[in-house]
Symmetry: C2
């Protein structure tokens, strides 16, 4: 099985590593010539939207997949090789209005939102939705970039300038209890498997820590999240792994955003689940049987941001698994992650604190 | 951390994969230009005993290690870079007489044995030891190669010819109850951790199935095996992972052979233990803290020999993890393995049978 992967970041790298195990020949495409994926397998250096590099990437491939959602939709639609997940999922995920509309259409509630194209429409939207609200660019936002919170007394002009005066969405800032995500995998025959809900902790818009399963997870909440995930995936005729970020507010779930790919809040599955999200994504896009998504105990994942930690200090912590992505250190950059296990939630939290103590906050 | 690995077979490949995760730069040396390890990371093509390729391999490396025991001892002794495990371990493992003598010296009983240099000394040895016995070349035997069983009524000449008329060892063929192995890791400060004993099933001299922990493993047996492992490792001032193959006979343990490297009967540790043998080997040789060796339930490992199986059929089995080494299919060649989990021994055995049914016996 030959798999072409658009994107060679850490997600591409971990897909390649999972593919190697299964005996698949994976090749990645990335503009950088020392991408994380290029360090662990065959890679093509080039632009995502350059037809000649794309042609080179897909030559001989059985399937094309991608590790990030900002892949040019028209470029992948033009390919003769099957693209999984389907380009329709890219379209939905690339535009926050399309995404929220999809969620609403399939019965997943979302915070009140409105499209904003200029300062005047921002004014109208804020009037209707109320404050506090958050203004986000419709496209190409990630890790909190392209976002501005608007609180009472702040000038709309400042927020509008902060997001770059581009087509945007304004959403009610919901007083949620916690942020969750559900990682699921869907096969082309519609079979679906969901990992348990994960509780996510962000700081400065970047995911810092995930707990899996989410503490105090009830069967009802898991069932509700799975029903939403299924509804979204069925609508898109999705194939592969995806994540939906959710807010839990007063026991109810609200849809925040969708990633049509493997997701940072699913990295714990490498050691923490019977089958990792990376292997399950490859199984799905290659038409192989889906793998068991059972969890092995209490797991946490801590992102390594900005600076590499002292490996010896991390590895001395019982149950700690260090993952390094082979990237140059840079402020706010995800360089790796640490997976942690414990027999009880308290010890797990202590170990998260212990690991965090060895990370330079950058 | 830069690690130079002599040998690029599947063991080298799995070491490289474990090293990538930890952010280590691993490079392998192998005479083949499409070795399993070369497919997943930087590799040098050349002979193990060629000083210039060895010099190229170790350039900039913090440590040199190896994935097979037939590394030329003098070549690695001549290196300025630290070699771990120590070359003394290679010497012991390369010569069955030295190996058995070491075992005996540290109190690990072995089947009665004698050195054989010609037909006359074979005759004397068989007279002393009795039949049945097994004649093995002192050096370079693996997967049952270079061995001949001598039963009553057989001509010694035939056995002597079968092993190639080279310096050999003759051993009493012990009526053992089962074959076990202990995989252990030792740090340079003498700290040691042992995985639970594994029960191994060979056919035609090749490992087919391992069960971990060994069924009906008692604390006494584990403690006895660990004491032997420690005694051997301390004597060698060993650093890294090693395996000792043992016979269990009437509740006692006999030493068979030692592998100064990661071992086929430890492949189950990738998913089945908290830290894999590959990661623990790298941790040890790089001076990092050793990892937790706890087992996650009942695990089995089935080798894929001679021919690749239908991946979809294997992956449809609950709890099955497929590993492919990227090798050309060839009779008696190890091409991959399947790790299996189950909640109880009976289900585990059923799954082993199920997997074996999808393997062409070659």
């Amino acid at each position: 099985m030959r798999v072409a992967i658009i994107g060679g970041g850490q997600l591409g790298r971990m897909l390649v590593q999972a593919g190697e195990r299964l005996g698949m020949a994976c090749v990645t495409l990335d503009p950088a010539n020392d991408s994380p994926a290029a360090q662990v397998g065959p890679a093509i250096v080039g632009a995502y939207d350059d037809p000649s590099t794309l042609a080179q990437l897909v030559e001989g491939a059985d399937v094309v997949t991608y590790e990030f959602e900002n892949v040019p939709v028209e470029a992948v639609r033009a390919l003769a090789t099957p693209v999984r997940p389907p380009p329709a999922a890219l379209e939905a995920a690339q535009d926050r209005i399309a995404e929220k509309t999809l969620f609403t259409d399939v019965g997943l509630p979302v915070p009140t939102f409105a499209a904003v194209d200029d300062l005047a429409s921002l004014d109208v939207a804020v009037e209707a939705i109320g404050l506090p609200a958050v203004l986000k660019t419709r496209r190409f936002g990630y890790d909190g970039k392209g976002q501005a919170v608007i609180r009472r007394g702040e000038l709309l002009e400042d927020a509008w300038r902060a997001v770059g005066e581009v087509p945007s969405i304004v959403e009610a800032l919901v007083p949620f209890d916690r942020e969750l995500s559900i990682i699921a995998v869907r096969a082309d025959d519609g079979e679906m498997r969901c990992y348990p809900l994960v509780e996510n902790h962000h700081r400065e818009g970047i995911l810092r820590v995930s707990y899996a399963p989410a503490p105090d997870l009830t069967g009802e909440l898991q069932a509700a999240a799975e029903a939403h995930a299924r509804a979204v995936a069925d609508r898109l005729e999705y194939v592969g792994v995806f994540a939906i970020e959710l807010f839990e507010a007063g026991g109810a779930l609200l849809g925040n955003e969708m990633a049509p790919r493997v997701h940072n809040s699913g990295h714990w599955t490498i050691e923490g689940a019977e089958t990792s999200q990376f292997e399950n994504h490859l199984r799905a896009v290659c038409g192989l049987p889906l793998g068991d998504v059972s969890v092995r105990g209490q797991v946490a994942m801590v992102n390594v941001i900005g600076q590499e930690p002292d490996a010896a200090a991390i590895l001395a912590i019982p149950g700690a698994h260090l993952h390094s992505y082979g990237k140059q250190a840079r402020q706010r950059r995800k360089l790796g992650h640490v997976t942690l296990f414990a027999d009880d939630p308290e010890t797990l939290r202590e170990r998260v604190v212990q690991v965090s103590g060895h990370l330079t906050d950058a």
